[in-house]
Amino acid sequence: MSLTTFLIQCLNSLQYGLLLFLVASGLTLIFGIMGVINLAHGSFYMIGAYMAFALSPIVATTLGGGFFSVLMVGVVLAILLGYALEWIFYSYLYEREHLQQVLMTYGLILVFEELRSLLVGDDVHGVQAPEILSGTLPLGDLMTYPVYRIFISAVCMVLALGMYLVFTRTRLGMMIRAGSANREMVQSLGIDIQFLYRVVFAAGVALAVFAGMVAAPVSSVYPGMGGSVLIICFVVVVIGGIGSIRGALLAALLIGFVDTFGKVLLPQAAGVLVYVLMAVILLWKPDGLFKAG
């Protein structure tokens, strides 16, 4: 492997890792902080991707279009969806066993897939990247790199920093962390924990939907796309340490590097390397890299 190739592979790893973080960040919130095993997280990602596809003609006629207006509309819809879902379904799950959480959220996957099939159909769709980001950058004389992928990486970094600051530097972040440590205590201090959790859940859903929409132009939009990201998201959260934003970012980058270089250097084992990494890290640190609280 020449130096240029090596550097390009590092860029690939970084870019994939950041994309993983973007997708997993919502799960970190919901699973890591609220303690609900949310199997439907992949479905929210899928909903986001389909929104990017299905909303663009509607937004184009009503608001004058543009990828970024679609993003805004999508995030607003996602927050409403998340808020409603928490109110109708998830609020009953906090005190229940994990098995019941798994059953209900698995049921939601089936419902969302079927709704997707009824509303949009089973075809594969493509989403165009916005005009100003559709160019490519040359990397040496080997290949070119799409500007949109670099844009995604930048978005992920901004998001990671934003989440970190909210959690560690704001009153809201403090309340959320306190709530994850001891629900009853926070409640007895006069904080409306129910409302707080509803907001956090809505934010988690919005993050997943946002990730799906941002990733749609590079991932394309197809049935069952949620299932494939779900597992890797759980791996990110478990390696990173439950409830830690910092850990999730580090874990996502680690997986990015292991997966990228694994595919090239050890193609026969590429499918299992990420899980071997998880096993090794859990043996070394059973709570993940940075367990919060």
């Binding site: 290949m143 070119t144 499918g271």
Partner: protein, 389 residues
Amino acid sequence: MNIINIRLALACSLALAAPMVHAQTTGKLKVGLMLPATGTFASLGLAIENGFRLYVTEQGGKLAGREIEYFSVDDESDPSKATDNINKLVKRDNVDVVIGTVHSGVAMAMAKVAKDTGTLMIVPNAGSDAVTGPMCAQNIFRSSFSNWQPAYAMGEVVAQKGHKSVVTITWKYATGDETVRGFKEAFEKSGGKVVKELSLPFPNVEFQALLTEIAATKPDAVYTFFAGGGAVKFLKDYTAAGLKKTIPLYGPGFLTDGTLDALNGEAEGLLTTLHYADSLNTPRDNAFRLAYAKTYKLQPDVYAVQGYDAAQMLKIGLTAVKGDISKKAEFEEALSKVKFDSPRGPFTLGKNHNPIQDIYLRQVIGKENKIIGTASKALADPGRGCRLL
């Protein structure tokens, strides 16, 4: 081994004997459709069923004088449920013939049951080489293709274009392996060399690392197989990486069938091989396309053709045995002699019951796979491991 063989023979003869007792030549013929009605392949299942029913309707609703009664099971493209699902048709509904399916893993499980029970089976899509290879049987037929066929034809085409070194890239699973093997066989026979075989776990779609690997290897051409969402994403990423301009890409037709609407010119000019195309423009195909579009208000595709031909096979065999489906040997003999009048062009059946057919070279122009020539004439699957050969 011997004991197993004896037991198998005993089971087979019992299973064969049972329907003979009830051998019917009149009354309704029970046709079991085991196709995906939900999931990723649902639209393919629908096209196959539409094609099948269209042929039956054209024959006046009867095949060889027998009315058709349909029994349907949704196979969900799930191999782990396949044995149970086909048993519902074979044991519970007592069907005379099973038509299915799209997914190769499911088709393999079905073929095993069909082989054990002697039930007539026609595969209207699944391309797994093994179905007409080691799993082949007197009562198992295929109206579609084997993965080997379009791949082998493409190997010849790429060699003729003067390419010497090729990198292959696909998912690491049975279909991916089979298509690369078929391509490599023809390409290396013609003096080319497959310098690197890249793969990633199914259904992973993170291609960037492997694209960098291709760029660094600098081959003359790339041979690839992906389908559905994976194909769309691969073609987009390949173009975005700037490789489409420098390293030509080739693949079997599934790369660009049903994916062109999701693409925005990324596949333009791409050459693929398949036994069907969007613009054959023969009187036979035009008539079929018109009838299909009229009946279903949909454009037919390769899957519809395969379903249509499955019904055609059933009719020809059934006519030869005068409606008595228990006469397996006569049924087989009739099919082996016939030249099928298919919308894809005429084809015959090989000794392993796979179509011997022309594989077309197609080019993506706009939203269509236009035919630009014949990549391989009357190409027969080698049927490796088949005992009928």
